[in-house]
Amino acid sequence: MENFVFGLDGAELNDSDSFLDKGIIDSTGVLEVVAFLEETYGFSVADEEVVPENFDSVDNLVVYVEKKKAEMPGQPARLMGA
């Protein structure tokens, strides 16, 4: 997923680094991540959920995605990862 989002090999990025602070991603990038998650996992991301706490690092994203998948009815969730 890192590769999709940033076109990076991840070498310069720690999982806890803030995307915004590091300048890796801007507002357009955040919204591309939102669209990517919706397509990949099939849940929808509410406007109020697009906050740094959910989107501003790899760690935050992982926690957010796991939480959203757990909330999804039915189907077993697909595995996280690119």
Partner: protein
């Protein structure tokens, strides 16, 4: 120079890779037309739902970030005519708005029937910012893909100035006239989250404050704005989810009295600084900062590939570049 055989991205573009047919990675990742169409419908419906439910308790339904260029002129007209919006159009004067653009702004505001506001930041402050942007890289490398450093700095200030005004005047939508090549459909309806905005603002404010000092601060959001999170508006970019057709845009806006400026470069219909910004970027990085946008318009089928290549290879107007340098007080920018 090697250029993608499908779009117009050159080999000098950051991170580009060509396959055995000379097709670039961006083209290979490009989604099918049906996919784009269904995304457009999805975002248009989302906007129209929000629009129908809006609580416009203030004097305006939306603030339009109005450059006077062709795309924002068309968008302004759409808002007023198709959506019946009470619009406050805002133009940030960076000191380089072309005289023709200023006349266009007055004519169009009158023809469309909207209130209009010029905001003119201190030019001595802007001068420092633009001169520094011509000399060195200020923002993260990612931003260079989409625009020159000068454009990025200017646009960031425009965004935060508009956001300030929207919060102060309690305007629920801020509308931009980005083309579908400049902004993907996924960013066309976006709720400004204060904590997110605070972080994004820091990435711009910090480097600009180092350049221009505290005089730059009035053009960014203050604590008084962050103290009103309930007033943070949606950002809307209608041209990303509506039909985009340059011929139709020109036909419509000419009816409003808009005239094509003869004094700007082929990629900007309002800003005199643009030629200089492009020159610097082309020298520093070896590609035109409009390549990304035009490549996307080619992929989406709204721009002919040969026209795009011609636009990108056109030399900048030397005289204009010289005038800008003089006004910025930099005769010889230090290019790296």
């Amino acid at each position: 120079m090697r250029v993608c055989t499908k779009c117009v991205l050159p080999e000098t573009f950051p991170g580009i890779e060509f396959d055995e047919n000379g097709v670039c990675n961006h083209c290979r990742a490009h989604k099918q037309a049906e996919y784009t169409a269904s995304r457009k419908t999805q975002y248009r419906e989302k906007f129209e739902r929000l629009w129908a439910e809006r609580q416009a308790s203030g004097a305006y339904d939306c603030l339009m970030s109005y450059s006077g260029g062709k795309d924002s002129t068309y968008t302004l007209d759409l808002l007023a005519r198709e959506y019946g919006a009470r619009v406050l159009a805002v133009t940030v004067d960076n000191g380089f708005v072309s005289p023709t653009a200023i006349e266009n702004i007055r004519r169009v505001a009158e023809a469309v029937g909207v209130a209009h506001l010029f905001v003119k930041p201190r030019f001595d402050v802007l001068k420092k910012v633009f001169a520094a942007c011509a000399e060195r890289q200020i923002f993260p490398p990612k931003t260079l893909e989409r625009a020159s450093t000068i454009c990025t700095a200017c646009m960031a200030m425009v965004k935060f100035i508009c956001l300030q005004i929207a919060v102060e005047k309690n305007i629920p939508f801020v509308v931009f006239g980005w083309s579908p090549g400049q902004a993907p459909v996924t960013s066309s309806v976006f709720k400004n989250n204060p904590e997110m905005i605070r972080k994004m603002q820091e990435t711009v404010r910090k480097p600009l404050e180092e350049i221009a000092g505290g005089e730059i601060l009035p053009y960014f959001l203050q604590e008084e704005h962050f103290a009103r999170p309930e007033r943070f508006p949606y950002n809307i970019n209608p041209l990303a989810f509506l039909e985009y057709d340059e011929a139709r845009i020109h036909a419509r806006i000419e009816q409003l009295g808009w005239k094509k400026p003869e004094d700007t470069d082929p990629n900007s219909t309002n800003c005199l600084l643009n030629s200089f910004a492009n020159t610097v970027h082309r020298k520093q990085f070896g590609y035109n900062p409009y390549a990304f946008e035009l490549a996307e318009l080619v992929r989406q089928g709204t721009l002919d590939r040969h026209d795009a290549l011609a636009r990108l290879s056109e030399p900048e107007d030397g005289e204009m570049v010289h005038l800008v340098k003089k006004r910025l007080g930099i005769e010889q920018p230090q290019l790296r």
